[in-house]
């Protein structure tokens, strides 16, 4: 056994660190929190310039052929730094799908400019009436000659304000069983008929509702076969749950350990001298290590050629529920000061715990709720019969 990620992973991690030191400036960070937009064009283009938008891709596509264990080191650094990654994250998922299932024409049209950093792509899965039950999507796509006409509404199309396309799940056959009448498309946002309405969230992150009125797109924008969209989604949802998960906990841990080992301004006491604080920090350290190990195990399984479905669900479930516990623990532990908001100059440890408290609320929902992950672990991991 070996619990190191390996030399090439650490070298790639160092590359990520160097990149972040240079490009993830205080300005970028401040802008991200002020706007709630976790996407930075400066960062994105710099990544593209250094061939870091899709380092895991083969060199023929401009990638570097990095393996899963190298990629997770890279992602860990971005997450731990708190750098904006939503734009490149959703784009990478969609490019992965197009590479696997898109037509040659679509690949040619989308992949090279995307890898040059010219645009980003949003995800359009969730709808007002379908969340966890993704396959219940009602947004309609109707064929009209060589075109498709799309009408409907998508929730949580994060980054849509900056995106060129939305990768969208639509219903093409309302008469077929739920999972058999779906088709996926890449829908241009600026091609007319798409309205992007901003949505504010508790953590300050901005997302969007997007509305689609008689949006006409050519058939070439279709991905996968007609009415076989659920197969495409299977790949998409697995990709959505892959990647590092420890970043938010590690960031909180660093902030709380710094807070605990810095003497109080007024009376000079150290929070770390208190046994309760130490116990909470230790518990967080255990959960941070477990979070890291669960995510790395997924990467290792993939590296071995496996498909880490259950492992990915465990990593996602554990990391998000742990962040919830940790943020509550530390906001509590800080007493009245704990609720001074992130952004208020008087907040202890810059309000990182208070921010995590609100941020954590989203993590147990997006990318599949904790309930969905538990269903997956129970059914696919433990072999329990389908939940009733």
């Amino acid at each position: 056994m070996d619990f190191r990620l390996g030399e090439s992973s650490e070298a790639f991690r160092a590359e990520a660190k160097a990149f972040l030191d240079e490009h993830f400036t205080e300005d970028v960070e401040r802008m991200m929190h002020e706007t709630g937009i976790h996407h930075s064009w400066d960062l994105h283009r710099a990544l593209a310039d250094q061939g870091l938008l899709a380092p895991s891709w083969p060199e023929e596509f401009g990638g570097q052929g990095k393996g899963h264990l190298e990629m997770i080191a890279f992602h860990e650094e971005f997450q731990r730094a708190g750098a904006p990654t939503y734009g490149q994250g959703t784009t990478a998922i969609v490019l992965g799908i197009i590479l696997a299932l898109g037509s040659d024409e679509l690949k040619k049209m989308i992949i090279p400019p995307a890898l040059r950093g010219e645009f980003i792509v949003s995800l359009g899965f969730t709808e007002p009436e379908s969340g966890s039950d993704v396959a219940a999507a009602q947004t309609r796509a109707v064929r009209d000659g060589d075109e498709w006409v799309i009408n409907g509404q998508k929730m949580f199309t994060t980054s849509a304000q900056d995106a060129k396309y939305v990768f969208m799940l639509t219903r093409t056959n309302p008469d077929a069983p739920k999972h058999r009448g779906l088709t996926t498309f890449l829908v241009p946002i600026d091609g007319g008929g798409v309205e992007v309405q901003p949505v504010q969230t508790i953590s300050g992150e901005r997302t969007n509702i997007t509305f689609y009125s008689d949006v006409r797109i050519p058939d070439v924008m279709r991905i996968g076969e007609v009415d076989k969209g659920w197969d495409v989604m299977g790949l998409g949802l697995t990709l959505e749950r892959s990647g590092a998960h420890d970043g938010h906990t590690i960031r909180l841990q660093r902030a709380m350990e710094a807070w605990a080992t810095t003497p109080n301004e007024i009376d000079g006491t150290l929070p770390a001298d208190d046994e309760r604080t130490l116990a909470k920090l230790g518990r967080m350290a255990a959960e941070a290590e477990v979070t890291t190990l669960l995510a790395r195990r997924s990467a290792w399984v993939a590296d071995q050629g496996g498909r880490p479905g259950v492992e990915g669900s465990m990593a996602k479930l554990f990391s998000s529920e742990a962040l919830l516990r940790q943020s509550r623990d530390f906001v509590n532990l800080m007493g009245p000061d704990g609720i001074r908001s992130f952004g208020d100059p008087t907040a202890p440890a810059k309000g990182e715990a208070e921010y995590a408290l609100r941020f954590a609320l989203g993590t147990t929902t997006y990318g599949g709720t904790s309930e969905i992950q538990r269903d997956i672990v129970a059914r696919n991991g433990l072999g329990l019969p389908r939940a009733r």
Partner: protein
């Protein structure tokens, strides 16, 4: 045993329920988010007697019991009222216990609606009263420091602190304070005020929890997934059943605590703290469950459930976290048992 409020209490509750329905719908709560203070709601509350009800009849008040105030606090919590009603009532009761002229003057102005008086929950640290409830809108603040109780008039310049829960709290540097009392009286009156604040806030948190659960239950009955209302899934139903049970427990305990102020005075301190600790966790459990079962909608600023969740974290934090409260409750309890032995 009688768990029903009296006829007078039912009328009181109905009156405030109606007031909050009119003056504190969620649009009003939202429009007061920046300051946590809705001046119109506050005026209406003062006119209705929400502050003066807390004073003895001799002082021109209604002589309401702490239990009466608790039932009002529950309505306040349900509606997430953006007004320092509990802080003001606690100040009235505190001042009513003091004999000094300064205290009497302060009470008169406070009851007349001329000078809003609040109470700092903690002694100053490094010369600053930190996170003072209503500190951003009060005209005077009462505080305790080294065995003495003081009042201090507040100037115009006070930075509004941004907190998780939109409250008019502020950090207030101590300057030009007047002594109100000293010695045993001062510390007893201060401890009593803290306990009353906890008893009333516990009841406000119960109202908050109840309303949060109503919102959550309504949502999971209407929201469908996988061909059925999501409330039919045990993963959802059992979380809400647990939260409803905790909230029922918090309601009974918080009302008992307020009742004990007059009817079981030896246990009041202990019960007020137990109720506050328990109601804090019940309100957080209830609002989190309801928020989480909203799925992505729960994370959106647009849905009311997030207003509840944020205040469930923020309101009680002004005093201390549950573990600290439970320890202080047990200290009071062991003292009582020792005396009884």
């Amino acid at each position: 045993m009688d768990l029903n409020p009296s006829d007078e209490q039912v009328q009181l509750v109905e009156a405030f329920e109606a007031l909050y329905a009119k003056e504190s719908p969620s649009e009003r709560v939202r429009s007061a988010e920046a300051t946590g203070f809705d001046a119109d709601l506050w005026s209406t509350l003062i006119e209705t007697g929400a502050v003066s009800m807390a004073a003895d009849e001799a002082a021109g008040g209604w002589g309401a019991t702490l239990l009466d105030l608790a039932l009002v606090a529950e309505q306040h919590g349900r509606a997430l009222g953006s007004a320092p009603i509990i802080d003001a009532q606690v100040a009235v009761r505190l001042l009513g216990r003091l004999d000094s002229g300064a205290a009497k003057d302060l009470l008169v102005g406070h009851l007349a609606g001329e000078r809003l008086v609040s109470v700092a929950l903690h002694p100053p640290i490094g010369g600053v009263l930190r996170m003072v409830p209503a500190g951003a809108v009060a005209d005077s603040v009462i505080f305790f420091d080294v065995g003495e109780l003081f009042a201090m008039d507040l100037g115009a310049e006070r930075a509004q602190l941004r907190t998780t829960g939109a409250m008019p709290v502020a950090d207030l540097p101590v300057a030009g304070a007047t002594s109100l009392a000293s010695g045993a009286v001062a510390s007893e009156v201060f401890e009593r005020a803290r306990d009353e604040w906890m008893a009333l806030t516990a009841n406000a948190l119960v109202g908050l929890a109840n309303r949060a659960l109503e919102i959550g239950v309504e949502y999971v009955k209407e929201r469908h997934a996988f061909g059925t209302p999501i409330g039919s899934f045990q993963a959802v139903a059992h979380g809400l059943a647990n939260a409803r049970t905790s909230a029922d427990g918090a309601m009974l305990l918080s009302r008992e605590a307020a009742w004990a102020a007059d009817e079981d005075p030896e246990r009041f301190s202990e019960l007020a703290r137990l109720a506050f600790g328990f109601a804090t966790e019940a309100a957080r459990e209830a609002s989190y469950a309801s928020e989480h079962y909203h799925g992505g909608y729960g994370f959106m600023a647009e849905y009311d459930i997030q207003l509840y969740w944020r205040r469930a974290h923020a309101w009680p934090a002004l005093m201390a976290e549950p573990d600290v409260i439970f320890a202080s409750a047990e200290r009071a309890r062991l003292d009582r048992l020792k005396k009884g032995a």
